[in-house]
């Protein structure tokens, strides 16, 4: 196994030092087989994404575990959690093991499957959560993402049941009766565009209910893709009371607003929808404060024909793995420790994922990424690795700070010189 010496690297913005990666861990010493000039580069613990759609099995035309893994590595990730809304749905030990195995074969990031909460994501009956937990995939996070576990009794049971194996329910908070036919954030812009509104209260009402349920049964709750200022307030109060709730925000909800829908270009159609500038402001503050614990991409690849069409007929979702860190950098600035906290350490901790999100000190697993903070990059969709790149990034033509130069998974490079090694 080749060892690497990262010369002159700045660990989380600290003064330059040398870092040696040997036998999968960060080692002492000052020599290695290969020297990488890392002057001007910042080392972060490998990023961990709790919310990725890899689409395999079922929609390999949009993304595969391998292409999604490559996009992740290029984005600085060393672990991603693959959502369960595949076809077939990841609601059995068989499917989660298949996804987990495909991830191992791709070998670019650790792919950790998320199991469905309910059979077929239908919201009727619990899936075999225990079987998925004890499978080779070792599932700890369960989510019907794409759908809300809307039935309060079922949600209560799910929250309780997973306590037996330290599981966590990640809720897609969307009261379905309030969002029937919804196309975008309900507000001035939806009124002007004649698109059916997705009211903020549909998210806030579910989060409010779920934190009360989690409190009642003493379980952990994770809230996916928080998108409104009102949700932030609900979370703030719940956390102040000591409810065991964590929450994520996507890069796009930190940067983009509903005004973009005015083009009717479905590249901006996403669920939950892009909100207003005041929501964006509240989400940013909450992320800094820690009311929102982590950034998660909700990387959602789609086939071209599912985006190159009328807004109402397009599927919601945008790719995000390769642009997440640059977007967060543009929002938070070079606050490296905060970025490591929100994009690596805390997501690993929420998921109970060992070996990721650890400090870059001697003896730790060598999962890390090197970023050039001085680089500015104009996002060119054709350069993205995700299979659905062409029509599915909202950042085409946007200049974003930071370039991911290299990523190491257990001491092996998955990205070198900004290119995937395989």
């Amino acid at each position: 196994m080749t060892s690497y010496l990262l010369r002159g690297v700045s660990v989380l913005g600290a003064p330059p030092s040398d870092l040696v990666l040997r036998d999968g861990v960060i080692a002492g010493g000052a020599t290695a087989d290969q020297v990488i000039d890392a002057e001007g580069l910042v080392a972060l613990p490998g990023l961990v994404d709790l919310h990725t759609h890899l689409r395999e099995p079922g929609r390999e035309d949009a993304e595969t575990v391998e292409t999604g893994s490559r996009a992740a590595a290029l984005g600085g990730y060393t672990a991603v959690f693959a959502m369960a809304n595949t076809s077939p749905v990841a609601d059995t030990a068989g499917v989660v093991e298949q996804v987990w195995r495909l991830g191992r074969e791709a070998g670019l990031v650790d792919v950790q499957p998320i199991g469905a909460v309910t059979v077929g994501l239908a919201g009727q009956q619990l899936a075999e959560l225990g079987a998925m937990a004890t499978s080779a995939a070792g599932v700890r996070i369960f989510s019907d993402d794409g759908h809300c576990v809307a039935d309060p009794r079922l949600m209560r049971r799910a929250l309780e049941y997973v306590k037996a194996f330290d599981g966590i329910i990640a809720q897609h908070a969307e009261e379905p009766r309030l969002t029937e036919g919804a196309q975008m954030h309900e507000g001035e812009v939806s009124t002007r565009l004649g698109l059916t509104g997705w009211p903020a209260v549909a998210e806030e009402a579910i989060i409010a209910r779920d934190v009360l349920l989690a409190e009642h049964v003493g379980s952990r709750l994770h809230v996916c893709h928080v998108s409104t200022a009102g949700s932030v307030e609900v979370l703030r109060q719940a956390k102040a009371r000591g409810v065991r709730v964590t929450a994520e925000v996507t890069p796009h909800h930190l940067l983009l607003t509903d005004e973009l829908a005015a083009s009717y270009d479905p590249v901006y159609k996403v669920n939950p929808p892009l909100r207003t500038a005041s929501d964006v402001h509240a989400l940013r503050e909450a992320l800094v404060e820690g009311v929102i614990d982590i950034v998660a991409t909700d990387h959602a690849p789609h086939a071209v024909e599912d985006k190159e069409c009328e807004w109402a007929y397009a599927r919601p979702g945008m790719v995000g793995l390769e642009t997440a860190l640059p977007v967060v950098l543009s929002v938070l600035g070079e606050r490296w420790d905060l970025i490591a906290e929100r994009m690596s350490r805390t997501p690993a901790r929420i998921a109970g994922l060992t070996g990721h999100g650890t400090d870059l000190s001697v003896g730790s697993p060598a999962n890390l990424t090197l970023v050039d903070p001085s680089a500015r990059r104009v996002v060119d969709p054709s350069e993205l690795a995700s299979r659905s790149r062409s029509r599915n990034t909202p950042y085409a033509g946007t200049t974003l700070p930071g370039r991911i130069v290299a990523t190491f998974l257990r001491g092996e490079p998955t990205v070198l010189d900004g290119k995937a090694v395989k």
């Binding site: 812009v189 009124t191 004649g194 009717y264 024909e305 190159e308 807004w311 109402a312």
Partner: protein, 307 residues
């Protein structure tokens, strides 16, 4: 001149006025024995209709034909569209056929915006989802102007299902541009939140039709689909018409000169009683005739005709 007419917001006051003035010239033509102008000879206008709307399609067809354009009617039924061809592929087909203008009616809001990105010709929105119907607003404005002599300062009530109405959106935008004062009236469930901020700050909202009528020059009744009561927008058709329907008693509250409009098709007995619809204040049939003139003006100007 603008290239596309996707929204009434594409029109500033001079452009909108130019279209109305041109429509007046076109209307004068209708009185002649030979109703045809050679202006658009050799140009191709495609009517691309994804929704059944015989009246709008016929109106556009008559408009294009009176300008001597070649007209191709492309309707969703019995064409490749119903076999699942995408809007983009259809657009590329029309592009290859050399369409100079595409008139599109589509159930999805924003479809004309998408289409405009894929064809070189002009795109005219003939109604998209719950978004807009700008030529309806033009013919309505034309009707108001010819009946009442002006638009500036005119007080117009638009009554009914504003939430789902493309006619309402286009009318608010165009009328405001031309200096009219619009009041939206209906049950709160059918008036979108933030509507004034979204469309124009001068737009007023009222939930009480009776209190609004005495101050109006124009009252425009919108079609209200009875299916809306299944979604709890209102309890029953009867309650709706009692609170927001225009009957003779309410019509008498209007000033003497005020007119009653309806974009059609009407639900007689629901939002408007037959006596009102057929009264001398009603411009409903006139609106249909004016539709051809307004659409002639739009096609003529978009395709480069001189004013």
């Amino acid at each position: 001149m603008i290239k596309h007419l996707r929204s009434a917001a594409d029109l500033d006051a001079p452009t909108a006025t130019l279209i109305l003035d041109t429509a007046a010239e076109m209307a004068a033509l209708a009185g002649r024995e030979v109703k045809k102008l050679p202006t658009l000879r050799g140009r191709t206008v495609v009517n691309l209709f994804y929704e059944d709307s015989t009246r709008t399609r016929i109106s556009f067809e008559a408009a294009a034909k009176r300008l001597s354009a070649d007209v191709i009617n492309f309707s969703a039924k019995g064409s490749s569209v119903s076999k699942g061809e995408s809007l983009k592929d259809t657009a590329l087909t029309l592009q290859a056929m050399g369409a100079d203008a595409v008139v599109i009616r589509h159930p999805a809001s924003g479809a004309p915006h998408r289409l405009a990105a894929w064809v070189d010709g002009s795109v005219v929105n003939a109604g998209d989802g719950t978004h807009e119907h700008p030529t309806q607003a033009l013919l309505d404005a034309y009707t108001m102007r010819s009946r009442l002599g002006r638009l500036d300062g005119l007080r117009v009530a638009i009554v009914g299902d504003v939430l789902h109405s493309r006619v309402a959106r286009s009318n608010v935008l165009l009328l405001t541009t031309l200096g009219a004062q619009v009041t939206l009236v209906g049950p709160p469930t059918l008036i979108p939140l933030d509507v004034s901020a979204a469309l124009s700050p001068s737009t007023k909202v009222s939930y009480d039709l009776d209190s609004v009528l005495p101050d109006m020059d124009v009252v425009m009744m919108l079609r209200v689909q009875t299916e809306r009561m299944q979604d709890s927008y209102f309890p029953s058709a009867r309650e709706y018409s009692r609170r927001y329907g225009l009957d003779l008693a309410r019509m008498r509250k209007l000033p003497e000169h005020a007119i009653v409009m309806h974009p059609g098709p009407m639900n007689r007995g629901m939002e408007i009683t037959p006596e009102v619809a057929d009264s001398s204040r009603s411009t409903i049939v006139e609106q249909v005739a004016n539709g051809v003139s307004a659409r002639m003006a739009v096609l003529y100007l978009l395709l480069g005709g001189k004013a």
